[in-house]
């Protein structure tokens, strides 16, 4: 803007050049016309002279024939005057003037001017310069009367002088040039009007061109009218986007950040974790919808104090409008147990991250919430201006952890108990003197049984770990169902006898052959039957019923045992689950049998279901599709 070249705007320059070239063209045209008219007028004067010469000769000849040289002088004077000649003279054969428009020359010897001579037939023309420095053209022709030459006629005109012609032309120049100039001026005005919007836009663009960065330039709307101006204004308007004059970078980042904010809102509301930011007083500045679900009392609190609903992400105007009762902790305390020893309550911990697990009771449910609070440090501040909170319902995770811990306890017990027996019996056999052969056998049998128990438990563990990674595979073969059932029954019969449990088996006579994993299905049935025996007090009944339906095989194991409570029945197929019932705790078990059975049946495309009444008994029903190889 400060450079001198930019002082003259584009429209001025356009108009200037328009005028310059326009005037040049007009002048060139004028000169051309002048030169052409000069040439034309000279040629005209030549032919006019010859024509006059013809007239003069004819009239002189005629007059001389009728009257001799009596009227010659007056005729010459009249003719000279009539045709506006420089002079007109008749020279006799003696070389003296018979007549001359300047009468004092009559009778004097004719002068012979020196100059260029041209001749057409007997007509001669001499161009010469007279004493007044004027160029004269003298035309000479012989005069005849009755075929007798009686003299020569000389007539002269003053050849139009170039300067004279120019000066004459200048008289007409104003009139001749005023038109073109007027049109040029009108054109310039129109051009100036047309290019006025360009002036402003051009100036702004020049500024952009010379500025160190585009970001620092502000673009203004132009005040002039016209389509270009409207277009420019719309452009500027769309760049400013209603927020006045902002630099490009700011506008870009703003539009980007507004997009980012929208996306972040969606992300925040899509999270299953509750997220919130609060100020130092614990007033909520921002919350996502998951938070409202985790802390239902937050909504109540918010409503009581006309606060923003936490279900929608909302920015508060500031901490000024908040009252003390809206602390996030108050909301937490309304459903969750926040002990006084909790680090969230301790004012010393506000500047460092805190993770706590809170317990809450909602109706029948016991839930666990993991709360993480970290100081919220904004870039422009050195210290925290509030807190970022995350809330996660870890009830399921805790349950899984508890179950796993329970399993570790169970597993340790399950592994150590047979090991302890094996070691105790083996050492007793080695160190103590056991003379009785039967007792020795008895001891060795116990060792063998314990080793079997250990091996089975290790097998179960392996199956469960495979089941967890989904790699428990079946090796199916065409199996005689009757033989399979027989095998399973044989395995559990000794136990039935030992526990004095009556055992009824209902198997149809005709049984199909099925394509299945024989070992795993046998194990599953033994497992179900084993459970039925384990959890049925002495003197109870266990029944195995097999039905062949149209497309399904139904195997059910009924017992009159201790049953399963309604609370626990939904968990019986969960891994590591063991009932809290002391009658179950009394028995050894890993909590793996039923989940394994469930998985095996599922892999066969079947289902396993349980019906049970506490203290009355349970029925486990396995349904397998009738699949033949």
């Amino acid at each position: 803007m400060d450079s001198p070249s930019s002082h003259i705007g584009l429209p001025q320059r356009i108009t200037g050049y328009f005028l310059l070239f326009g005037i040049a063209a007009t002048l060139w045209l004028g000169l051309g016309v002048y030169y052409a008219s000069c040439r034309i007028s000279r040629e005209r004067s030549e032919s006019a002279c010859l024509r006059i010469l013809g007239h003069v000769i004819r009239s002189l000849n005629l007059d001389y024939m009728q009257h001799g040289d009596a009227h010659l002088q007056s005729l010459v004077e009249n003719q000279c005057r009539d045709y506006n000649l420089a002079y007109l003279a008749v020279i006799g054969l003696d070389g003296k003037y018979l007549a001359h428009s300047a009468s004092h020359r009559v009778g004097t010897k004719a002068t012979e001017p020196a100059g260029a001579t041209e001749s057409w037939g007997d007509v001669q023309r001499v161009r010469f310069v007279n004493e007044d420095s004027a160029i004269l053209q003298e035309y000479r022709a012989p005069l005849r009367a009755a075929d007798q030459n009686f003299g020569t006629v000389r007539l002269a005109i003053i050849e139009p002088n170039s300067w004279h012609a120019f000066w004459t032309a200048t008289h007409y120049a104003p009139i001749a040039l005023i038109g073109p100039f007027a049109f040029l001026m009108i054109g310039a005005v129109v051009l100036g009007k047309l290019t006025r919007p360009v002036e402003d836009i051009d100036r702004q663009l020049r500024r952009v061109a010379t500025a160190p960065s585009v970001a620092g330039c502000e673009l203004l709307e132009t005040e002039v009218h016209g389509p270009a101006a409207i277009g420019w204004n719309r452009l500027v308007h769309s760049w400013s986007k209603g927020s006045g004059q902002k630099d490009l970078q700011e506008r870009l980042s703003e539009s980007l950040s507004s997009m980012r904010v929208k996306k972040l809102e969606m992300v925040l509301d899509g999270l299953s974790d509750g997220i919130s930011t609060t100020d130092q007083d614990g007033s909520i500045l921002l919350a996502n919808s998951a938070l409202a679900a985790l802390i239902p009392t937050l909504g109540q609190l918010a409503n009581e104090g006309n606060r923003a609903e936490p279900s929608t992400m909302r920015k508060q105007n500031g901490p000024n409008g908040s009252s003390k009762s809206h602390r996030i902790l108050d909301a937490l305390k309304r459903g969750w147990v926040v002990p006084d020893s909790c680090p969230l309550v301790d004012p010393e911990t506000t500047e460092r991250p805190v993770v706590v697990e809170l317990e809450g009771h909602f109706g029948e449910d016991r839930r666990i919430l993991r709360v993480t609070r970290s100081p919220w440090i904004e870039p422009e501040h050195q210290h925290s201006t509030g807190h970022l909170w995350t809330f996660r319902d870890i009830t399921q995770q805790k349950l899984a952890e508890e179950m796993r811990n329970q399993f570790v306890n169970t597993a340790t017990h399950e592994l150590r108990t047979p090991l302890a027996n094996i070691k105790a019996y083996a050492e007793t056999l080695v160190l103590a003197d056991v003379p009785d052969i039967e007792q020795q056998k008895d001891f060795l049998n116990t060792i063998s049984a314990e080793a079997t128990r250990l091996a089975r438990f290790v097998d179960d563990l392996l199956s469960v770990s495979r089941m967890e990674v989904g790699s428990l595979s079946l090796s199916k073969q065409t199996t005689n169902l009757a033989r399979l059932l027989d095998e399973a029954v044989k395995k559990v019969r000794p136990l039935m006898k030992e526990r004095k449990t009556s055992f009824d088996v209902f198997i149809p006579e005709k049984m199909p052959e099925l394509y299945l994993d024989k070992d795993k299905i046998t194990t599953t049935l033994v497992n179900l039957l084993g459970n039925a025996i384990k959890y049925t007090p002495q003197g109870g009944h266990v029944a195995l019923r097999v039905k062949v339906l149209k497309e399904q095989l139904e195997i059910s194991v009924e017992d009159t045992g201790i049953g399963i409570s309604q609370d626990e029945i939904k968990h019986v197929f969960d891994k590591f689950f063991r009932s809290k019932d002391s009658r179950v705790q009394e028995e050894t078990g890993s909590g793996l049998g039923l989940p394994l059975a469930y998985e095996v049946v599922r892999l066969h495309g079947g289902t396993i279901t349980v019906e049970s009444v506490l203290d009355k008994g349970s029925t486990f029903t396995v349904i397998l599709p009738l699949v033949t190889a």
Binding site: T412, H413, A420, A424
Partner: protein, 132 residues
Amino acid sequence: MENTRARILVAEDNPALAAVIEFNLRRAGCAVTRMRNGRLALEAAMEEDFDLVVTDHQMPEMTGIELCERLRALPQYMDTPIIMLTAKGLELDMSNLGETVGVSEYLSKPFSPAELVRKIEECLISSCAITS
């Protein structure tokens, strides 16, 4: 010990293990009463005075820990040696058990029966020394 047979109460839910413990203790010349859970053991302990109690840690109905606490609450069992057998070697802080519930000795499973007998003898000798 030769003159008067030491009376020992064994509380163990695993019958096989209880049997082998009983076998070894009888071999060592003790009178053994076997109970399969803590509640039954406590009832037996109240009916009869025992010189020493061997208890499993994990038992149905009443655990070994609870049995210890109940026994220590009884005047006749204030100083009676109690040996605890446990399958939870590392999970429990064994050094604490002596102070909190009054367990005299503990053995973690799997254990050697000879070791158990040796510990029982040590405990009986030291308790005799205290009572005399």
